[in-house]
């Protein structure tokens, strides 16, 4: 018996798992016995535990609903949405992060859960609570694809700072400069003008509000590129919207003014 015991112990140490049939057999035999003699195992505890788990799950769901409601409120209250007709939407899919083809070649696109049945058409502006998300690039019946700021193919005309100098923002760095850190954008001014760190960058707006409505926040200037004798200055912009964490967004539907502007009389004496 002793020899057999030592042999089994050696086997268990040398090759763990090889003796599992012994443990499984013992568990099958003694497990019910152990369960039977356990004190205080009553159905009340089981029921209460299940109720508690259920309530915890419910609370998590409620917290999620409240968070989404807050995001919708924040989108509706954002300056870019002032007076506009908005269609709230959720982001349901992203360009896959696996290195296949998508994000490795600089694509930033998302799918939102509204389509042409909801009144979405191509080239409408999409915003989030913080500012500009991008423009609608393709529309299906119940979903649309949005080209997000930071995509290699997207360039946005902008005004910079209090002076309102014209420029354009895109994901690609100007020729001759090192690539930007991930998530940063490049600002190229169109005219000679001062750009300072901390200047806000807002959209210039397009004809008819397509693809971009005016005065929507795009980002903030975080650093200026050194002067290399180029015609106009370039800078690095931190976008206000994080493309990887998008959830609730809104499509701006109305593009035209509906209230006529009142004329004013000159006040010079």
């Amino acid at each position: 018996m002793v020899v057999a015991t030592v042999f089994v112990m050696g086997l268990d140490l040398a090759q763990p798992g090889s003796t599992s049939f012994l443990r499984t057999g013992a568990a099958a035999a003694f497990g019910p016995l152990e369960r039977a003699v356990t004190v205080g195992r009553d159905d009340e505890v089981t029921r209460l535990t299940r109720d508690r788990d259920e309530l915890l799950r419910q609370r998590a769901q409620d917290a999620e609903a409240v968070r989404q409601a807050r995001e919708v409120t924040s989108v509706l209250a954002s300056p870019g949405a002032k007076g506009a007709k908005l269609l709230a939407a959720r982001v349901v899919a992203f360009t896959p992060g696996s290195s296949t083809t998508g994000s490795s070649s600089g694509e930033r696109r998302v799918t939102i859960d509204v389509g042409y049945r909801d009144g979405v058409t191509k080239d409408l502006t999409v915003i989030a609570g913080a500012g500009l998300v991008g423009r609608v690039s393709a529309v299906a019946a119940w979903t649309s694809d949005v080209l997000v700021v930071g995509d290699r193919d997207l360039t946005v005309g902008v005004r910079v700072g209090t002076g309102g100098g014209y420029g354009s923002v895109s994901a690609t760095a100007p020729i001759g400069l090192a690539p930007r850190p991930a998530g940063r954008l490049s600002l190229t001014m169109l005219e000679l003008g001062a750009v300072a760190v901390g200047d806000t960058v807002t959209t210039l707006g397009s004809v008819g509000g397509r693809p971009f409505m005016p005065d929507i926040s795009v980002g903030t200037v975080v650093s200026l590129d050194p002067d290399r004798g180029q015609l106009t200055s370039t800078a690095v912009v931190q976008p206000v919207v994080d493309a990887a964490k998008l959830d609730v967004v809104a499509v701006i539907l109305s593009t035209r003014r509906s209230v006529p502007r009142a004329p004013a009389t000159g006040s010079a004496k």
Binding site: V92, A93, F94, T95, P96, G97, S98, S99, T100, T101, G102, S103, S104, S105, G106, E107, R109, V110, T111, A138, A140, T143, D145, V146, R152, T172, P179, A244
Partner: protein, 165 residues
């Protein structure tokens, strides 16, 4: 050639659809780089069927990736990429014998193929090349493949043995 629709191919199609939806809707929320779930299904099929069947399965799975919104920039890029990856993984196909290292090697090779084709465009265009992201993607896919691919193969073998497929 008569096309035979077996239970196995239906299950595989369902699995591909599931993984494609997951990798478009769920994985990007968890992190910027994730494992390539679709590739694991392709590798499992390629290991069982060989290079030709692997390439065919990869082509079909790649089409699903291409078409699932928001999709890829050029329709067919993912299809051809996964077809090549499926063919490469099929090179590790053995008629007999089961080795624990075969699935891992095949997954590594397929993931490297996908990553190599993925960074081809940035390299040829002089864009910043995402070496780190590509490396992580290969590592995560291979790590997950170590566990998942043998399971998939075992499940498919069981189906074949019971004449369900």
């Amino acid at each position: 050639m008569r096309v035979r629709i077996s239970l196995l191919s239906l299950l595989r199609a369902a699995l591909v659809a599931l993984t494609v939806v997951l990798s478009a809707a769920v994985l990007p929320r968890l992190g910027s780089v994730g494992p390539d779930l679709v590739l694991l299904v392709v590798v499992a099929g390629a290991l069982l069927g060989g290079p030709a069947k692997g390439a065919l399965l990869g082509l079909g799975a790649g089409w699903a990736v291409d078409l699932m919104p928001p999709g890829t920039a050029a329709l067919g890029v993912a299809a051809l990429t996964y077809a090549v990856a499926g063919g490469v993984a099929g090179l590790w196909h053995r008629e007999s014998g089961r080795s624990a290292s075969l699935p891992a090697l095949a997954t590594l090779a397929a993931a490297s193929t996908v990553a190599a084709i993925g960074i081809l465009r940035p390299v040829t265009n002089g864009w910043p090349v995402p070496w780190v992201a590509a490396g992580w993607s290969i590592a995560l896919t291979t790590a997950l493949g170590l566990a998942v691919v043998p399971l998939l193969i075992r499940a498919e073998r069981a189906l074949i043995r019971r004449r369900l497929a």
